[in-house]
Symmetry: C2
Subunit: 194 residues, 2 copies
């Protein structure tokens, strides 16, 4: 598995909770990694008539774009901060489990409407709070959440459980069973969907 | 011109200085617009042996990705904020002319090195301060700036003059001569390079 190999070889274990993927996903971007991940996510949801791929800026932007490009869907990014110029903004305050800081996500309701079939995509599934907020805003706008797609999932955290309440497919391309800060080991399982 | 038409039809003049392009570039993304813009930018720099496409998160991320994907280059995003976990960070404090707030851009020097041939890409050329900061960090890291590429340029502002000091090509796909807040008119000129 190409994606698994790259995560294992180039990911840097920062702690038992955090994996740094700055070398190919979060600071320097390897387009071949993104193309492969986008292709796999698009393939999983090809029969879902996805109209919108929704993510939260900025980490998920590129993977959302590549997935949407292949699905023929458009992308919507929830923006950080309060939306002073946004028409009909929806918003959620969430606490980033990575940074520990609170951030407001804003989404213009003119871009998600009744009839929208929305796939929520991000780089990591961790606690699931951001994705759950995006799903909640989608439903508030009258759209339908058709699934969640993540490049990587920290399976030792609560994210998958939280998102299962939406009762739609959760696709994760690289599932991380554990991170060992002492040895730097990244314990991966195969691709999983639920 | 497809790009010009979309800017003219879907752009919303907010003031004489600001054009809102939330409908296809900055909040909702139209992949066909990004594909066309990325293709045109990549074509302009196809003979420059570009190794890195550099931008500042988050507005430029997707256009930088699409340009890099077509050039066979990798992407590097300068990150907002101080880089606590970044190896060998370079940084610049800049004032956003759009938001009026100060922001620190950080770039890991491990990703731009002597020998890197760097194309700097962004959605808008306005005052040019962000792009000049990216070019300065590239040079500080020992890399070579081979050009600047922008989807849109506000030709009534000082950006082009500022970047001309780097003495490399500046490619702009859609050049905006003026914005009229009273009538909502967007006055475009044809594609321009200098």
């Amino acid at each position: 598995m190409k994606l698994h190999e790259q995560v294992r070889c180039e990911g840097v274990v920062v702690s038992d909770q955090f994996l740094r993927v700055d070398g190919f996903l979060n600071h320097r971007i390897d387009p071949t990694f993104i193309e492969e991940a986008g292709r796999q996510l698009a393939d999983h949801f090809a029969d879902q008539s996805v109209s919108h791929v929704l993510t939260a800026e900025a980490a998920g932007n590129v993977i959302a774009f590549e997935t949407a490009r292949r699905l023929g869907a458009c992308v919507v990014y929830a923006k950080k901060g309060h939306a002073v110029t946004m028409a009909s903004p929806l918003s959620r305050d969430i606490v980033s489990p990575t940074k520990g800081t609170s951030v407001t996500l804003s989404l213009s309701a003119e871009y998600i409407t009744p009839g929208s079939r929305v796939l929520i995509v991000d780089d990591f599934l961790y606690q699931g709070t951001t994705s759950a907020a995006l799903a909640g805003m989608t439903q508030e706008a009258g759209g339908q959440v058709v699934g969640f797609g993540f490049v990587m999932a920290k399976e030792f955290a609560a994210g998958r459980s939280l998102l299962q309440s939406f009762d739609v497919p959760i696709v994760t391309l690289v599932s991380i069973r554990s991170l060992d800060a002492k040895t730097g080991a990244i314990d991966l399982v195969g691709p999983a969907s639920s």
